[in-house]
């Protein structure tokens, strides 16, 4: 399974770099789809099969479609896409700083926290499938699960209100 992990990691990071560096929002959205699919593969390697499927359905199927829909609706031309960027050395310093902050974090924790190998082939039967996740959601996490429905309702109302032409009701 090791080579699959490295394949997902390399493809995911390459596509994420593309998301950050793409000029055109459409190509950034397509690169984001590739990253999300690779993250779904990582979930499936971690025995979270239901979550991997949900990742593909919700992210690649709904969120990215929403992004592409808005990009198409805005219909940006060449000069609206063009960004007034900071100068090249400033950009280099910013990206170096934000990447090296994560590297410093790893250096700080190196040797202090020792993680054992992920135990393979000892997972309980049905770990990560629909039944197990659903059982957790409807027993232990019932109240947070119901609260998310309120969150989604508020999101729907907010999106409708924001998209209205005038705020007069």
């Amino acid at each position: 399974m090791d080579y699959l992990f490295w394949l997902f990691v390399i493809l995911g990071i390459a596509a994420a770099v593309n998301v950050v560096s793409a000029k055109n929002p459409v190509s950034a959205a397509i690169a984001l789809v590739v990253t999300l699919l690779n993250v779904a593969g990582i979930y499936i390697l971690l025995d979270a099969t239901f979550l991997g499927i949900i990742q593909i359905l919700v992210y690649a199927g709904a969120i990215i479609v929403l992004f592409i829909f808005v990009i198409m609706m805005l219909n940006l031309n060449e000069e609206e896409i063009k960004e007034r960027q900071a100068s090249k050395p400033v950009r280099f310093i910013i990206s170096l700083a934000s990447v090296s902050s994560m590297g410093l974090l790893f250096l700080f924790f190196r040797g202090k926290v020792q993680f054992a190998e992920l135990v393979s082939a000892q997972m309980p039967l049905g770990y990560g499938n629909v039944k197990a996740v659903g059982w957790q959601l409807f027993t232990e996490y019932l109240i947070p699960f119901e609260v998310t429905s309120v969150l989604l309702l508020v999101a729907i109302l907010g999106a409708v209100l924001l998209a209205k032409r005038s705020l007069k009701i």
């Binding site: 950050v20 929002p25 971690l46 960004e83 902050s101 992920l118 989604l152 924001l162 032409r165």
Partner: protein, 102 residues
């Protein structure tokens, strides 16, 4: 053998790439996509620790984060369309009305 560390490092790289995009880019749509990248990195950490501790709590957490990301994307894109209607631009340096120039 792949241990937990590799998963955490992958998540860290994804998170820092998203952070770089947030700081560097001026396009509102790409900023939202970078937020999605960062949320995904957090999700990988939750799922990896859930696998490590052999329980399902991290997966439920990741499930909630996916719901949150969907709500956030819809609201963010609604705000972008509302902004675009006022001023035909998706660049953040066009929206500086609240900035104090003194």
């Amino acid at each position: 053998m792949i241990s937990l560390n590799q998963y955490l490092i992958f998540a860290g790289i994804l998170f820092s790439l998203g952070l770089t995009g947030i700081v560097l880019r001026r396009n509102l749509l790409i900023l939202l996509m970078c937020v999605e990248l960062m949320l995904n990195a957090v999700n990988i950490v939750a799922v990896a620790f859930s696998r490590y501790h052999q329980n399902m709590d991290g997966q439920v957490m990741a499930f909630f984060i996916i719901i949150l990301a969907a709500a956030e994307a819809s609201i963010g894109l609604g705000i972008i369309t509302a902004l675009f209607r006022n001023k035909i631009s998706v660049q953040t340096n066009e929206y500086q009305e609240l900035r104090d120039d003194t």
